[in-house]
C-alpha cells in the first residue's frame, strides 16, 4: 500500500498493486476492465493512486475501450480474469493484426487450482493462438518491471502485449523498488490509418503478414532481451521455468541451473537450445498445461516435462520436488476446509428457499448466489459461464415436456445481468418458448462475489462517484417483455412465493427483479469516506 511508502521507494505490494503502480508510474492514461478474482485489485489500486480507471460492463467492451485509447496514441491497460479473455477474445484476436499507436496491455489473471473460478484454463494458449507477445512475472517486482516492459514492446512494435499473472502472483505480496519509468513519447492525437485499422479482408490479409513479421522480429530480439535469465548452478540438473513455478523450483532445487523465462511467446529458442546443451538433464517446470514443454519440443529441443497429474491444480514446492524426482505416486489429499456460505442476512437466502420449496428447475449463473447450489438449498441446477443462465434456461424450456418446462427459472445477479444477460433477454423475446419463461434478477446493488464493485446498474463509477444508471426493469419493458415485476424478496416471503408461482403458471415471458441491497455493500455505501482501496469486506482489527 502506497501510504506505507518509505522514502527510498521500497514497497511491500501484491502483484496486482505492482502492476497498477507501474501503469501509474508509466503514465498509462486509461485502465479499463471487469472485476474477476484474482484480477480485481489492479484497477482499484490504479484508481487509488490517481489513475483513470473504469469498470466496463464486460471484458469485451473493456478491451474495445482500451483499443480505442491506444488508437488515439494513449497508453492503455485492460484487466480481466482468465475467463474474461474468452469474452474479450473477438477483439483480442483481431487487434493483433492492427497497428496500435499507443501502448495496449491486456492483463489476464489466471487461476490454476481454481481458488475462485469455474475452470483453470491456461491463457498462454491465447498468446500463441492470436500472435500476441506474452510476459509472465513471478513476483511483485517482476510484475512492476514487466508492466513497464510490456509498454515498451507494445510501442516499439505497435503490437498489443499479454501480461499473464496467476493467483499466487496477483495475491502474493513481495518487495518492490519503485523506479522512474519512461513517459509516453507524445500526447494523444488522431492520425488516420484506414488501411491499418479497418479489418476488411483486403486490409486484414496484409495485417496478418505484418503480424508474423513483427513476431519474427520480436523473437529475434527476445534472444538478447535480458528477459530470460540464466542462473548458473550445478549442470547435472537444468530447470526451465516461468512465472511462479520458477519460484517454487528455485526453493525445491536450490543448487540446480536455471533458465528463467519471462517472455515465453515468441519463445527465445536459441537461448533455450544453448542452455539445454550446457546441462545434463533439462527439465521444464510449468504450472497448468504442458505449454512451454511442447513449444520447446516443437523447436526440436529435447526436454523432460512433468507427469500428467501435475497439469491439475497449482504447483508448490513439494509438488515441484515430486516432479524433479519423477514421482507420480498418488499425492496426499489435503483435508477439506469449511465451504463458504451466504452471509446470515443475505437477501439471496429468501430467494433460494422459495425456489427450493417450489421445486423449480434453476438455470443458474455466477455470483454469491451460486452458493444456492449447496445445502441447505440445493436449488441451483446449472452454471456454465457468466450470463449463461438465460440461454440455458430457454434451451431447457424448448425441449422439456411441458410439466417440467413450466418449472424452469433463469437466475442471474445484477452485475452478471449487465455483463452478459441483456442479450439473453433479447433471445427470450425473439425466440420465446411455448411455455413462456421466467427470469429472476437478484439485484443486490453490487458485484458482491468479487468484493463489492460498482457496475452500470449501481449508477456509480469505479471510485463510487455518481454516473449514468441502467435500470433493468425499464430495459425489459422496452424490449417488450410482457410482465415485469420489481419486489423485495425478504419483505413478504408468501407474497414472493405467490408471485413466482403465478409467473410460472402464466405461460408468458416474465422478468422478476428481486431487489434488496447486499448488507456488506449497504454498509460501504453509507460510509462513503471509506478507503476506496480496501474493496473487500471492511477491515477487522
Amino acid at each position: 500500500m502506497l501510504r506505507l511508502m518509505t522514502t527510498d521507494s521500497r514497497l511491500l505490494l501484491s502483484g496486482n498493486e505492482a502492476v497498477a503502480c507501474a501503469a501509474y508510474d508509466a503514465g498509462v492514461m486509461l485502465g479499463t476492465g471487469y472485476p474477476g478474482t484474482p484480477s480485481t485489485e489492479i484497477l482499484e489500486h490504479f484508481s487509488y493512486l490517481g489513475g483513470k480507471a473504469q469498470w466496463a460492463p464486460n471484458e469485451k467492451v473493456a478491451l474495445e475501450v482500451a483499443i480505442g485509447a491506444a488508437f488515439g496514441g494513449g497508453r492503455a491497460i485492460a484487466t480481466m480474469k482468465h475467463v474474461g479473455l474468452n469474452v474479450a477474445a473477438d477483439p483480442f484476436f483481431s487487434v493483433a493484426y492492427i497497428s496500435v499507436t499507443g501502448a495496449l496491455i491486456i492483463v489476464s489473471a489466471d487461476d490454476p487450482g481454481m481458488a475462485s473460478s469455474q475452470n483453470e484454463q491456461d491463457n498462454r494458449h491465447y498468446a500463441k493462438a492470436a500472435g500476441i507477445p506474452l510476459l509472465e512475472p513471478a513476483d511483485s517486482q517482476e510484475a512492476y518491471d514487466l508492466t513497464a516492459k510490456a509498454i515498451e514492446i507494445s510501442e516499439r512494435w505497435h503490437i498489443p502485449v499479454l501480461l499473464r499473472l496467476t493467483t499466487r502472483v496477483c495475491h502474493s505480496k513481495s518487495i518492490i523498488l519503485r523506479k522512474s519509468l519512461p513517459q509516453p513519447p507524445s500526447a494523444p492525437f488522431f492520425q488516420r490509418d484506414i488501411k491499418g485499422r479497418v479489418m476488411i479482408p483486403s486490409n486484414a490479409r496484409g495485417g496478418h503478414r505484418k503480424l508474423r513479421d513483427r513476431l519474427n522480429a520480436i523473437a529475434a530480439w527476445n534472444e538478447n532481451s535480458g528477459l530470460n535469465i540464466h542462473i548458473p548452478g550445478d549442470p547435472s540438473l537444468g530447470i526451465i521455468a516461468s512465472g511462479i513455478a520458477c519460484m517454487h523450483a528455485r526453493e525445491a532445487a536450490p543448487k540446480a541451473s536455471f533458465l528463467k523465462i519471462k517472455m515465453a511467446y515468441p519463445l527465445p529458442v536459441e537461448t533455450i537450445r544453448s542452455f539445454v546443451n550446457q546441462v545434463k538433464r533439462a527439465l521444464v517446470i510449468e504450472e497448468g498445461d504442458p505449454w512451454l514443454v511442447e513449444a520447446i519440443r516443437a523447436a526440436g529441443i529435447a526436454v523432460e516435462g512433468k507427469a500428467e497429474m501435475y497439469r491439475f491444480g497449482e504447483l508448490n514446492v513439494s509438488r515441484v520436488q515430486r516432479i524433479i524426482n519423477q514421482d507420480a505416486s498418488p499425492e496426499p489429499v489435503p483435508p477439506a476446509g469449511k465451504l463458504p456460505q451466504f452471509c446470515p442476512s443475505c437477501p439471496h437466502r429468501a430467494v433460494f428457499e422459495t425456489l427450493r420449496d417450489l421445486n423449480c428447475i434453476v438455470a443458474g449463473d455466477i455470483g454469491c448466489y451460486t452458493l444456492g447450489a449447496l445445502p441447505p438449498f440445493e436449488a441451483l441446477d446449472s452454471f456454465v459461464c457468466m450470463g449463461a443462465s438465460i440461454g440455458t434456461g430457454l434451451g431447457l424450456r424448448h425441449v422439456l415436456p411441458a410439466e417440467q418446462a413450466q418449472k424452469v427459472v433463469s437466475v442471474i445477479g445484477d452485475s452478471t445481468f449487465m455483463h452478459s444477460g441483456i442479450t439473453g433477454l433479447v433471445e427470450m423475446v425473439y425466440n420465446p418458448p411455448a411455455t413462456g419463461h421466467v427470469v429472476l434478477i437478484l439485484d443486490n446493488g453490487t458485484t458482491a462475489m468479487t468484493g463489492l464493485q460498482e457496475h452500470p446498474g449501481t449508477g456509480r463509477t469505479l471510485d463510487h462517484k455518481p454516473t449514468g444508471k441502467i435500470i433493468p426493469e425499464d430495459l425489459a419493458k422496452v424490449l417488450g417483455i410482457q410482465r415485469v415485476h420489481v419486489t423485495d424478496p425478504t419483505a413478504d416471503r408468501d407474497a414472493f412465493r405467490q408471485l413466482l408461482s403465478e409467473s410460472l403458471a402464466s405461460r408468458q415471458l416474465v422478468l422478476i427483479i428481486a431487489r434488496r441491497p447486499c448488507l456488506l455493500a449497504a454498509k460501504l455505501i453509507r460510509k462513503q469516506g471509506r478507503d476506496p482501496h480496501s474493496s473487500s469486506a471492511p477491515k477487522k482489527p
Binding site: 475462485s116 513476483d139 505480496k173 513481495s174 518487495i175 528455485r250 526453493e251 477439506a336 463458504p340 468479487t450
Partner: protein, 158 residues
C-alpha cells in the same frame, strides 16, 4: 539466516488477512525479504481462509510447503485439525486457548492477541516494528486498544 514460515488460519471475517498483513509489514519494516500468499474470493463468505507469511534473507516461493511451517496461528478452534499438517515437527501452534480472557480487552481482537503470542517466537522482529505495523494496518479508532492487547499478551506469557 533461514527463512521463517508462518501460517495464519481461520474463517472468513475473523481477521486472518489483517493479521498476515501486520506480520508481513513488521518483517518488511525490519528490513527483511518478505513474501505473503493468500486466497481471496469465495473464501470471504465465511469459508476457511489461510494466509502464509515468509521472511528471511531471500524468500522464493510465497507459499509455505506442508510440514514446513515454523508457526501456525489458528483463530478458530474448528480449523486446527485441517491446518495442523502444515506445521513442521517441533513447530509452534498458537490457538485461542493460549489467551487469557482478561487480556482480551476488545471482543473482536483475538487475531491481534494471537499475534502478541506469536511475536514471542519471532526474535528477528523487534517490538517497535510490530507497533508501527499495527498503526499502518488498523484504523485509527481501534489502534490503541489493539496495541495494548498485543503488548499484554506478548508480555504475559512466560
Amino acid at each position: 539466516m533461514k527463512t521463517t514460515s508462518v501460517v495464519i488460519a481461520g474463517l472468513g471475517g475473523q481477521g486472518v488477512l489483517t493479521s498476515a498483513d501486520i506480520l508481513a509489514e513488521a518483517a518488511f519494516i525490519t528490513g527483511l525479504d518478505v513474501k505473503t500468499s493468500e486466497l481471496h474470493g469465495m473464501s470471504q463468505r465465511g469459508g476457511s481462509v489461510t494466509s502464509d507469511v515468509r521472511f528471511g534473507h531471500q524468500v522464493f516461493s510465497p507459499m509455505v510447503p506442508w510440514g514446513q511451517a515454523d508457526c501456525l496461528v489458528v483463530l478458530e478452534s474448528t480449523q486446527v485439525d485441517i491446518n495442523r499438517p502444515v506445521l513442521r515437527k517441533g513447530g509452534i501452534l498458537i490457538t485461542p486457548d493460549l489467551i487469557d480472557k482478561k487480556d482480551l480487552l476488545h471482543h473482536r481482537s483475538m487475531n491481534i492477541a494471537l499475534l502478541g503470542a506469536l511475536s514471542r517466537h519471532l526474535p528477528d522482529i523487534a517490538e517497535p516494528a510490530w507497533i508501527q505495523a499495527m498503526r499502518a494496518h488498523l484504523t485509527a479508532a481501534i489502534q490503541d486498544v489493539n496495541i495494548q492487547i498485543f503488548l499484554l499478551v506478548r508480555k504475559s506469557q512466560a
